[in-house]
């Protein structure tokens, strides 16, 4: 079994799986149950000056029958007394010395920062995470994402913290910025030891159309909250890799957060450069028990790949994230329908007709029918399979459960631009694949063309010429 233990700026963790600072890390009793379940570390629910939370506080967004594709909250930092939290930190560290406890902190003045850092370290925290990310409630008071949004302020507070702290200082960033590199560079300048990202995204979850109040509702009103859960993972992956491929920021260890719920999600964050990952929504949805799959799945994956340690996985995908201008314009894929698997729903057909390039055809149509349906070009070649299927259907030689061949679409490979859309909508796994075609052209990027200063039209002048004909 591969070694899952990691060293995060000097903090040793039995595995890369940490709980993010949120309701799952509200109390010591919870965190101890989480450690028993297998979590390697926990970032304590943010500590700070006393606040009051509202009721209700969460909103969810469903997709079809899948609940909570995204979650939002208008909760502030912990509403438990500081000394109770500190006592519990001590207790947890005493009982679980090998597990990681990070104190998440958010206060306002320099003196407050000095005081709370000292208290957290005295209580036994292995490190500090400065919450510069909370996008609601606290930022209006000049804290949370108000700091994360302002690189200068961020840098200054981070410097204070570094000067007061004896343990590593992690800066938790907000995604609510136009360029994540700016706060990333500020962290680097401040001397802080690591970055965690992302905190939640500013959001309104919906509108109660009966009451005309946005969601979640607090009495007669609502407010914007922070969005997280599976829906935000692509955003988090992008922001993480903006930092891990940056020439200087990449030196800092990263804790990846946002939409992680499975070992596969975690592996993706690690492949894009994260050392640890943090989880909130998935645990709020399914409980601490999900970590068992994360540990098992990740270590089996590493074993299969012949990797001895999770550290070997870290960053493997970063180099393959390039600018658009460095992509090979000669690379070509086309859609391929597997007629054995096709169930004839024709979702690929309508997606291509209305949302792509009208190159998926239904067998057995006359030219007039195809044109009436909206095809602008007719396939030069109709696959043998489609011809046979139509003949079979016409002869009435189909079994009762067979998909009539006339319902199984085929792709005009000459016209298919390889956009992937049909393969994304097809409900049947493995039915539409994108097969690679040899374009017969050498690798050439947009940047190559600019350098040559010659032909700047993607696809060549003949492509524009062809487009003009229709």
């Amino acid at each position: 079994m591969a070694d899952l233990s990691v060293d995060f700026c000097g903090i040793k963790s039995p595995n890369p799986f940490w709980l993010a600072s949120a309701p799952p890390t509200n109390t010591g009793a919870q965190i101890m149950r989480a450690f028993d379940a297998g979590w390697g570390g926990a970032v304590w629910k943010t500590l700070g000056n006393p606040i009051v939370n509202v009721s209700s506080r969460f909103g969810g967004i469903d997709y079809g029958s899948t609940r909570m594709m995204g979650l939002n909250n208008i909760e502030l930092i912990t509403d438990r007394p500081l000394d109770v939290n500190l006592r519990e930190i001590t207790e947890v560290k005493k009982r679980y010395p090998k597990h990681v406890v990070i104190a998440s902190l958010m206060v306002e003045t320099k003196d407050e920062w000095r005081e709370i850092i000292q208290k957290a370290e005295d209580a036994g925290a292995d490190g500090l995470e400065l919450n510069f990310g909370c996008p609601h409630g606290m930022c209006e008071r000049g804290m949370g994402s108000a700091v994360g949004n302002e690189p200068k302020v961020l840098e200054e507070i981070a410097r204070w913290a570094v000067s007061f702290a004896k343990t590593p200082v992690i800066i938790k960033l907000t995604p609510n910025v136009s360029d994540i590199v700016e706060p990333g560079e500020a962290v680097l300048r401040s001397g802080a030891h690591a970055i965690s990202l992302i905190n939640t995204i500013k959001s309104i979850m919906g509108v109660d159309l009966e009451r005309m109040i946005p969601l979640p509702r607090v009495g007669k009103y609502s407010t914007n909250g922070g969005y997280c859960g599976p829906a935000v993972k692509p955003i988090a992956l992008h922001l993480l890799s903006q930092l891990t491929r940056h020439p200087t920021i990449k030196a800092l260890p990263m804790s990846g957060i946002g939409g992680i719920g499975t070992w596969r999600d975690a592996a993706e964050f690690i492949a894009l450069g994260a050392t640890t990952v943090q989880v909130c929504t998935a645990v709020m949805h399914y409980g601490y028990r999900i970590v068992e799959d994360m540990i098992e799945g990740l270590s089996d994956f590493l074993d299969d790949r012949g990797m001895k340690s999770v550290n070997e996985l870290r960053g493997l995908a970063i180099g393959q994230y390039q600018e658009w201008g460095d992509l090979d314009l000669s690379f070509r894929v086309v859609a391929d329908v597997n007629e054995e698997k096709c169930i004839g729903c024709q979702l690929c057909y309508v997606a291509c007709m209305d949302g792509a390039h009208q190159c998926i055809h239904l067998p057995g149509r006359t030219e007039a029918e195809a044109r009436k349906a909206g095809h602008l070009h007719l396939p030069a070649h109709v696959p043998e399979r489609a011809v046979k299927a139509v003949a079979l259907a016409n002869a009435g030689q189909l079994g009762p459960r067979a998909v009539p061949g006339t319902r199984i679409p085929f792709v005009d490979e000459d016209e298919c631009i390889g956009c992937n859309l049909c393969s994304l909508v097809c409900p049947v796994a493995g039915c539409i694949t994108m097969k690679e075609l040899d374009s017969g052209k050498p690798v050439e990027t947009w940047n190559d063309r600019i350098q040559k200063g010659t032909n700047l039209v993607p696809g060549g002048l003949d492509a524009t010429e062809r487009a003009r004909r229709f």
Partner: protein, 452 residues
Amino acid sequence: MDSHSSMNLRLPPGRLEERFHEKKPLYDEHEALTEANRCLYCVDAPCVTACPTKIDVPTFIHKVATGNVRGAARTILTENLLGESCGQVCPVETLCAGACVYNAWERPPIQIGRLQHYAVTTAIANKPDLFELAPETGKTVALVGAGPASIAAAGWLALRGHRAVVFEKKTIPGGLNTLGIAPYKMKGDAALKEIAWVLGLAKGRIELRLGVDVVAGAAGAEEVSAAALLADYDAVFLGLGLGADSAMGVPGEDGEGVVGATAFIERLKADPALTLDGVQRAIVVGGGNTALDAVHELASLGVAATMVYRRSEAKMPGYAHELAAARVDGAGLVEDRAPIEVVRASGKLVALRVAPAKDGKPVGGAAPEDLPADLVIVAIGQNRATQIAQAFAGVALDPKGRVVVDPATHRTGNAKVWSGGDCVNGGKEVVNAVAEAKVAVLAIHSTLMGAN
């Protein structure tokens, strides 16, 4: 004679039907959403083609999934005004759901009927007036029979601005949809509720005359003649259905204990006086869907019920899924046996004598056997009640007794007379009756409005 334009139709209490539970009860909202979200929203979907009324299934299911239940009901009812019944009584396994692409995927098909039932019932309960009425045209159509064909036709005619007068010889409207459907699919009161909804929708434009027989030459007060309808109305629609149960034609058949299947089911559904006291063993003769329903209903009521069919199971005209369901509830089947006599002891039924049969015919010389029974239900088909159609000059019957129509318009040989439902198709499903009524209404409307 009762005359109704809108009413609170209900069957009397104390009927055997009330003992049955629905096998597919109305979905609650969450069940409906979960099932609706499974639907792939196919393009040119095969389920639509398979529905005789061509309901746009993916569109209505998509609307259920978005919470637009009223829109879903409109999509359904536009094509099938009796969509609430059909959602419960359609043999979906052989229609829409049987064509669902999930079958080819080897996964359970979408429960289209249940979603349809949910959408219509829920929408109507919230706001019954789902459609606006066209202005009055001043035309009136007479409809003979108050089965699904006529009820659907009357509703659509009213929406298009015409008045409709429905003549029904029974005192309960709805035809076999009220009095024939197996109670575990739908109860009679549900069919009556749907009729009341259609009457409400029509805002007084439909008049229901119950207990009035349309006959060749009227004699009594509860009779109306064909000639009078032709003279008094702008058009006539014949929704006659089929006739009384056919008899076996074997010795001993007449007398207590032997009863036709639709007559028996009608009493089970509507007559509180019917009991099964003293009936331990019952035999149902036949192999069609009516026989299957009868044996299934008896078995569900705790009677040891067996079907006797003159051919093999493989050749049964009844649906395989209905046979399987009847067996689950304890019904038996004896294949390749033909009834030759009803055995009685001092008039009282004791057994049905059957002979081994091959290809449906008794085998000569083979020893008969007596199957003991306290009740024999005869389900070998219905006679044609279509003779009355010929009283309308020009209307013809085919050799099988079916009313002859032009399939494109459902117009008969008499330019003023249209027809649809079981009397035309020889006995299919409620959904076919509605589909045919729809064709007829379009043709009647364009004729009355002078397009033709």
